[in-house]
Structures are given as structure tokens and as C-alpha cells.
Symmetry: C2
Subunit: 220 residues, 2 copies
């Protein structure tokens, strides 16, 4: 998993939340509330008071569990990184290119649908210059892309796809899929829908997949 990068404070086991039932439940509530508030208001716009209110706790109680606002933010971001890593899915040389890439795009797009708040927090963190996530980007993500670049190069050598720049290939997929979370308000405005529907996402999956596969000369 992630070796070089650990956002969370505890250097210990990566699993099993610590503490009693109450602690566990309240921390979860706070994180969930914080995700909403950070996504809607941004880091600076978010207030611990609003997080507390949504979590159904007193503000002082929020500070009891997480010392500072930044600590809450770091934990929210850490959770999002986990999601990213899971959403990465597997793309190996043994896979069929069309199958693997299609699955990857679908997974990313469904993630934008299921967890738009997380996606937006990730986006604003990057836009702000990735003060928290820089190590993750420079090491883990970079390694991941380098590994996948080799897979794409192999596929290209085998004539199973065109020789496209693997970096920009992924940048394009990430952008095209994340936009349905981050820019949802723009997309729904243009589509004339109040909210994005299931069908919109299905059509997005179809369009993005079709263009990317054909555009890279990947045979089905």
C-alpha cells in the first residue's frame, strides 16, 4: 500500500480505529460533517462551529477529539487518499487493454458519483498547491504512473494500442472523470438538469470510454 507517505499521525497499525465506541462514533461523525463543510466552504471558509453543529456536538467537543481544525482537515484528506488508491484499480500487462482501461474509467467515474465531496476536497487541495498532499503526489502517485507507463509502453510495443504519452493519457482520464464531481454544477447547468442523474453518468462513461479507447487505438 502506501509506504513512503503517511498522512495520519499514528505510526502504528493501519487498521482498526482506536478508542471506545463513543470515541469511534463521534470521530466518524465529525469526519463526515467536516467532509461536507470543507467541500462546500473550502478550508478557510469552513468553521469548526459548523462542523460541530452538523456532527451534532458542541464545538468544544470537536476540539476535544481533534485538537485543531487543521488536524480534522488532515484526517479528511488522508481518508480521501485511501479512496484514490482503491479507485486506482489494477492495470497490469497481463490485462486486456480495452477491459482494463474501460474498468478504470468506469471506476473513476462512479467514484465521482458516489463521493463527490471527497473529490471536491481533493481538487481544492490540489488547486491550493497541494500543501498537504505534495509528498503523496511526488512519491506514491508518481511511482504508480511510472509503473503504469511501462504497461502502456508494452501494450504499444505489442501493437495493442498506439504509443501515446502515458502521463498525459492518465492526466486526461483523471480530468475527464473528476470533472463530473468537481464541475457538477457547471455540467448540470449546461445539461439543464438540476442534479446529475444516473443516466448522465452512464452517458459520460460511454462517451469518455469510447473516445479514449478509439483515440488510443485500443482494439476491443
Amino acid at each position: 500500500m502506501v509506504h513512503s507517505f503517511d498522512i495520519e499521525d499514528d505510526g502504528g497499525a493501519d487498521e482498526a480505529p482506536q478508542g471506545g465506541r463513543i470515541r469511534q462514533r463521534n470521530k466518524a461523525r465529525i469526519i463526515a460533517a467536516a467532509e461536507k463543510v470543507f467541500a462546500e466552504r473550502g478550508y478557510d471558509g469552513a468553521t469548526t462551529a459548523e462542523i460541530a453543529e452538523i456532527a451534532g456536538l458542541a464545538k468544544s467537543n470537536v476540539h476535544y477529539y481533534f485538537g485543531t481544525k487543521e488536524a480534522i482537515y488532515r484526517e479528511v484528506v488522508a481518508g480521501i487518499v485511501d479512496l484514490w488508491l482503491k479507485a486506482f484499480g489494477e492495470i497490469t500487462a497481463e490485462d486486456d487493454p480495452a477491459t482494463a482501461i474501460s474498468a478504470y474509467i468506469r471506476q473513476k467515474l462512479l467514484y465521482s458519483r458516489k463521493r463527490p465531496l471527497a473529490s471536491r476536497i481533493f481538487a481544492t487541495e490540489i488547486i491550493r498547491g497541494a500543501p498537504i498532499l505534495r509528498p503523496f503526489l511526488e512519491v506514491d502517485l508518481r511511482d504508480w504512473v511510472e509503473a503504469k507507463a511501462k504497461v502502456l509502453a508494452l501494450w504499444a510495443a505489442q501493437g495493442r494500442m498506439d504509443a501515446v504519452s502515458p502521463h498525459h493519457f492518465f492526466f486526461m482520464i483523471w480530468a475527464a472523470t473528476q470533472t463530473y464531481a468537481d464541475f457538477a454544477s457547471q455540467i448540470s447547468a449546461v445539461l439543464g438538469h438540476k442534479r446529475l442523474r444516473e443516466a448522465d453518468f452512464e452517458q459520460a462513461i460511454a462517451t469518455v470510454t469510447a473516445i479514449v479507447l478509439k483515440g488510443c487505438g485500443i482494439k476491443a
Copy 2:
């Protein structure tokens, strides 16, 4: 141009900045400084004090020209919308599809290179739910997309390109081009470059153009 939507307060002529030389120069300085601050800190994180400092004026002087922080923000956003409209470029039925789409992608990408701050402010505005830009998105941008959808449909009927969903086609191009401004820190981290270089943008243009054109069956 824009008929249904006017962010700027003055209902009058759209050209020629009002006021004397000093006023003009200082307002420009403030806007430039504000663009930087809003892009880096977000709306809530931005302070009029920092804007003033970067502009080289006293905070009170900033409030002398623009009454409120929100007014500054609105003017910055209005300027960005103008850029968007210009960057839209022309895509008409008479154009050659490959030429028109290539030029459009290139223009958008170069805009991400030349004006990354503007792009980031636009992005955060959308992520926040587009409180200011909603009318623009729902009317002007929507109309623009509908008009272009007809062009794409015609091209498809003429067998000059595949019948792809025009909406998602543009969402994809917007995402793939804007990502080089908004997510520059992610991209440079993955590429291992401290800053994005000219060559990175050229390769981005090449990759995105190639995938989109081929992916939509647009013959060169």
C-alpha cells in the same frame, strides 16, 4: 456576445474603462493582485489586507475603489468570463472538423498556460456551486453548447465524425485542458518537474488532440 448575462455593475458601454489615469491604474493593480490572492487562498481565505499589500496600496484605499471584497471578486470573475468567451473561439459548420477542434483544444490549453490563476478561480467558483456564475452557465454557456451541438450533429450526419454526445464531448475537452492549470501542482509532481514547461504543454496539446480527433473519428 453576452446578452443575457452581465456580471459587471455598469449597465453602460462595455468598453473603455472609466475614470482618470490613477483610478484606472490602481483598479488594474488591485484586480491583478486580487486574482493572485483569490487563486491561491480561495474566496474565504483571501484577505483584503493581502490584496492591498500586493497591489502596493493601503487597505483603506482598496476599499475606496471597490466597496467590498465581494465586489472585487465579482469583477475578477467577470474578467475571467470574458476570457472564456474569447477562448471559445469559433466552431462553425463550414469549418473543417479537424482544424476547428484542433485549434479549439490548442487555444484552451494555451489559455491554461498563460492564465492559470484565472483558470483556478473559475474552477473554485464552480466547485463552490457557482454562486456568481450560475446565470452565465445556465444561459450563455448552455446556449453556446447547444449551438455547437448542432454543428457536431451535422458533421456526424455528413460522416465527417462519429456521433458522440456533444455535451460530454465538450465536458471532456474542457476538463482535459483546464486540468493543466487547475491541477498543475499534481501534474508537475507526477512529471517530476518543478514547474510545467513549454514542452509539457506542447506534449499535452499533441496527446489530447490526437486522442480526441481519432477517438471521434475525425479525419485529418
